[in-house]
Assembly symmetry: C2
């Protein structure tokens, strides 16, 4: 398989973790977002949103949107599972993942921060905006797993929730958020950091890392 990504993209990072957990060898095709490479016509032809990641399957299938890609990976390569079997537990895991993937990450990604700068918003206010989005999302997620024993977000194995959490915590730190306010989330991150699948997916281990 081929994954179109960018070392710093939290959405691509989620898919890298999933591919590593599933043990699927992947060619990584970086697109430098800050140089606008995701807007090249050849890339827009496979991903009209001009966002990363895009996964190309061995049979030529083209998949976009990180959570849709991960659900597909989980359906076609079920071991190890990234969602629980029980419908209500699945809904809890998905809701946690979407609190980050819908309401947090897209509000603080490069596309939105660039638009803020175009409106004349100063750099300190842009960073504060990104920090705000991260705090809002992580605070809610801390509540969502407050009564979960762990050590991962939901149980003793990583799930879609952890795949979204670990990259988001990286973003939060980058924008200056004091993540010590989220001890339960940090407990899950600590468990994840003991796994090679998570470590190998980290931004600083990617070939395009700067």
């Amino acid at each position: 398989m081929k994954l179109h990504g960018y070392f710093r993209s939290a959405a691509a990072y989620r898919v890298r973790i999933a591919l590593n957990l599933k043990g699927l060898p992947t060619d990584h095709l970086p697109h430098h977002l800050r140089k606008g490479e995701q807007c090249a016509p050849a890339y827009l032809a496979i991903n009209p949103q001009g966002l990363v990641p895009t996964l190309e399957g061995d049979d030529g299938a083209v998949l976009t949107q990180s959570l849709a890609i991960i659900e597909w990976l989980d359906e076609t390569h079920p071991d190890p599972p990234l969602l629980p079997k029980d419908p209500l537990r699945r809904a809890k895991v998905r809701a946690f993942a979407m609190a980050l993937a819908c309401d947090t990450h897209p509000v603080q990604n490069l596309r939105v921060l660039t638009r803020l700068r175009q409106l004349g918003v100063g750099e300190d206010k842009v960073t504060e905006w990104a920090a705000w989005a991260n705090r809002e999302g992580l605070s809610a997620c801390e509540e969502l797993v407050a009564h979960e024993a762990g050590p991962f977000c939901f149980g003793d194995k990583p799930s879609l929730a952890d795949l979204c959490l670990v990259p988001q915590l990286g973003n939060a730190r980058r924008f200056g958020v004091d993540v010590s306010a989220y001890p339960r989330l940090l407990k899950a991150e600590t468990a994840a950091r003991e796994m090679k699948a998570f470590l190998d997916a980290a931004p600083d281990r990617q070939p395009d890392a700067e």
Copy 2:
């Protein structure tokens, strides 16, 4: 079941359509977002994000995040299905839905527009921001279904994609977007508007409509 929502919330609107398609009777509990009712402690106790919708099941289960709720409804009440059976087709439907639910709607919702106003951004620029987010998302979605015969987004029955599209087109019009640029999406909307499940879920048919 009980659905905590708001007549104008596109995310609650998606779930209303799903509940109607599944034929599930539901009590609707409105929370006036512009008056901040979603931030009342009693509501935050069940939805720490302070967003709508939240679904309370008959057994007391509490579900948040519209797409997680709809996936749960589809798993527990599979008829009629809201996702195809084939994994790749499921991924295509989910990717379309997430292009709207992750990258479009959260960038133009009340929370973000309020934050823009707090930064001193003028009302015309706030509306232009919301229109931009809608144009970006809908343009990509038009491409994603360009080769789908329809009449719905993916096939001859409504799917999760249509549940996200119809509310988003309503938002786009509200922000002054010329939706005639998306003929394939309008074809799907026209098909949806022939179904009572979609019509009854519309904002202007809700008890809290203004």
